[in-house]
């Protein structure tokens, strides 16, 4: 029984598949998750508003005092700029600006839940087949690439984040145009694999998508190089990439609906 169990797990580990069970589970669970997430956001907003009101009251007091203390007033105003309410507005405005700058057709989706396991990095979003979402579409945020749709139901989709060990993105170093394969590392970082030793990659270099994987549009930011390890042997160097996206604070994402598609079926037929 144990052996059979290990064999089944090994087979399933090689490639992601939910065998359609995802649709059944999500049908029952996702509405509750969406309600709870929206309630949490609502409470956060109320909390934000409360602090905003408190800040405004404080600001009012400060303005009264500011006649004598102009420097103090400036500092307090700066504090007001960082209330959760303002941060939320800033985040949404940022998303809207990014949407306008993108040439692709995009769809805004809200994150309703995260992976129950800390070892795997997926999120569930509130857009599905009914909104025109398809399996394999790229998911981005203003900071850079977030992930890829791996499962869809009628109203919800599952996104595999680029920090998941199952994820891979074809990318290149922006400065030198050296190619590599960005693999997730499950603890918030990525590893750029197959970067040749001879390539001049430096810490701090920006890594962008190459567009050659047929999933992500070319030129989207992935992350920046934080560490380079050149071992004594081997033709490749190990390049650690820190994603620009803060996956802990992901609340809204954009799904690229008209991403580049490669006709792999045609190639296999040949």
């Amino acid at each position: 029984m144990i052996v059979v169990n290990i064999i089944i797990l090994s087979v399933n580990s090689s490639r992601y598949s939910s065998y359609g069970s995802w649709r059944i589970a999500i049908f029952f669970i996702a509405p509750f998750q969406k309600t709870v997430t929206q309630s949490v956001q609502f409470l956060k907003n109320i909390w934000g508003h409360y602090f905003f009101m408190v800040s405004v009251a404080q600001e009012n007091d400060n303005i009264k005092k500011a006649i004598n203390q102009p420097i103090d007033k400036n500092n307090k105003n700066r504090e007001v700029e960082f209330t959760p309410e303002r941060l939320s507005n800033f985040r949404l405005r940022n998303l809207l600006n990014f949407r306008e700058t993108m040439t692709n057709q995009v769809l805004v989706a809200e994150v309703i839940s995260q992976d129950p396991s800390p070892w795997f990095k997926t999120i569930i979003i509130d857009k599905g087949k009914s909104d025109g979402v398809e399996k394999g579409l790229p998911v981005v945020v203003p900071e850079g690439i977030a992930g890829q749709i791996i499962d869809i139901s009628y109203n919800y989709s599952k996104v595999l984040l680029i920090i998941d060990p199952n994820s891979a993105v074809d990318a290149l170093v922006q400065r030198t145009r050296d190619r590599g394969l960005i693999k997730g590392e499950s603890y918030g970082r990525c590893l750029s694999k197959y970067v040749l030793r001879k390539h001049d990659v430096k810490v701090g270099d920006t890594v962008v998508s190459s567009g050659l994987d047929g999933v992500f549009p070319k030129g989207l930011r992935v992350g920046y190089v934080t560490e380079i390890v050149k071992r004594n042997s081997g033709i490749f160097q190990e390049v650690t990439v820190m994603p620009y996206v803060d996956f802990e604070k992901l609340e809204e994402v954009l799904i690229v609906l008209d991403s580049p598609k490669h006709d792999f079926d045609f190639v296999s037929e040949q």
Partner: protein, 172 residues
Amino acid sequence: MTYCFYICVCLCLVIFQTTIIPHIALFNNFYDLLIPFIIYLGLFRPAREGILFILVLGFIMDSLSGGPFGLYLTTYFWLFIVVKIVIKYLHACNNILLLFIVAAGVLMENIIFIASVSMFGPDSRFLAITMRAVIFQILWAGCTGFFFITFFNHIHKKLEKFSIFRSGTKIT
């Protein structure tokens, strides 16, 4: 009544784990909240009653997770079996057992998960970071697991009493 209780508890735990916990920085390294429930079922409930529910629970968690399908199913199933074996030798209400069993369950789950993640390719840095996360999870489990199991047991007993009381009043 019992199955309604199970469904409500599991729904609450799954939703709490996937929607609320990720927003709280303190619980960054919190363990799988369904483990205390699986252990509770193994310790206090008959095997026939628990096994089907555990398989359904594993199926749901596998569907929600991005990991290989069957990982949660495997973990929950074997955890339940191990608990059933353990209570053949130890008393289920033993407080020392309750203190350590959730931590042991969390350790078991993590071993299975790490083995599964390692199939994608070994990484030297992975182990160091993983060890830290696992230690935190075990500490959390050691501190809170006992209370979860006691709480589940207490609520279930109350519900059973209420159910018996209701059926008794109907007869009279």
